[in-house]
Subunit: 155 residues, 2 copies
DNA sequence: TGAAATGGTTGATACAATCAACCAATATTG
DNA sequence: CAATATTGGTTGATTGTATCAACCATTTCA
């Protein structure tokens, strides 16, 4: 009897690469040349409007400096805007601009389309099943986090 | 009723990040400081002994030059060795050295351990199920490859 | 008030990845 | 067979992403 344990990981790998490739491809057309990191940052601030750079640092695990630069780029493109926090002179609260919102919306749609396409051969029940299994897998996997890898996966 | 379609993708993302993080972490201890790219290259030549660099280029989709450099590094560390192809003066056939095999074996074990750990809360049946679902997902996803993304996911 | 912590910026630097140009060997074709 | 194209591989230049360290301004805490 086959083990499957490793197969599962391989499948995950393969699937993610497929998805990433297509997403990147879609971004180049649809996302005005946003890199994947920028896209994720935009996504983050769209899900957590008014957050600070520091929040993204904590959430993504990337370096402060890098986040600063990404945010700068997004602001230069006028996809993101910031205003000083009235209560704390160090913080800046970030949120998407109109333009940013529109782009984010477009990317979200693309993302959904891609996801739907990859799942098109599974029945509704099977999707539910798959989602459930993956979720349980993730939960138990996260549970056993080693001290050094305490950062949150980037959604 | 919830859609789940996007959830599934998110779960995939999260899982891959978890796995990658831990694998990287494990590599730093166990893999003598191999980067993920080098580790994958080693893995490839262990699965396809006697292949050429070009084979890896085709399989991984990365740039020729980069592959050359990775292979060079692996050879400097004496994990990989090459000999000229007797039938074609351009080719070099590559295979792991003893040292390379040992390392690869150690990494393989780690990998299996990680995978097993992530799946520990699923029953045997559920693993089978999950594997099957993922495989079908991958197959149908690969089917609809767009012209520009014709490269093979890196296993 | 002085010391430490926090949010953010900047400069130097490392590294992976890609592109373009190139060499040597082989295949193709007229 | 000679000229040409293709293939496997290498090298140099360049870009993009990430990290580290030092730093400034503001806030918090002792």
């Amino acid at each position: 009897m086959p083990d499957r344990t490793e197969d599962v990981i391989d499948q995950l790998h393969a699937l993610m690469h497929l998805f990433k490739d297509r997403m990147r491809q879609a971004l180049n057309v649809d996302g005005g040349g946003l890199g994947p990191t920028e896209a994720r940052a935009l996504r983050f601030f769209s899900h957590h409007p008014g957050s600070t750079q520091q929040d993204l640092v904590a959430h993504s695990g990337r370096d402060k400096a890098q986040i600063t630069r990404i945010v700068q780029q997004l602001m230069e493109r006028e996809l993101l805007a910031r205003e000083p926090d009235p209560n704390d002179g160090r913080r800046f609260n970030l949120q998407l601009t109109k333009k940013g919102l529109a782009l984010q919306e477009a990317m979200h749609t693309q993302r959904k389309k891609l996801a739907a396409d990859m799942l098109r051969d599974l029945s509704k029940d099977e999707r539910q099943q798959l989602g459930g299994l993956l979720e349980r897998m993730r939960e138990s996997a996260e549970g056993s986090s080693t001290a050094a890898s305490e950062r949150i996966a980037s959604r």
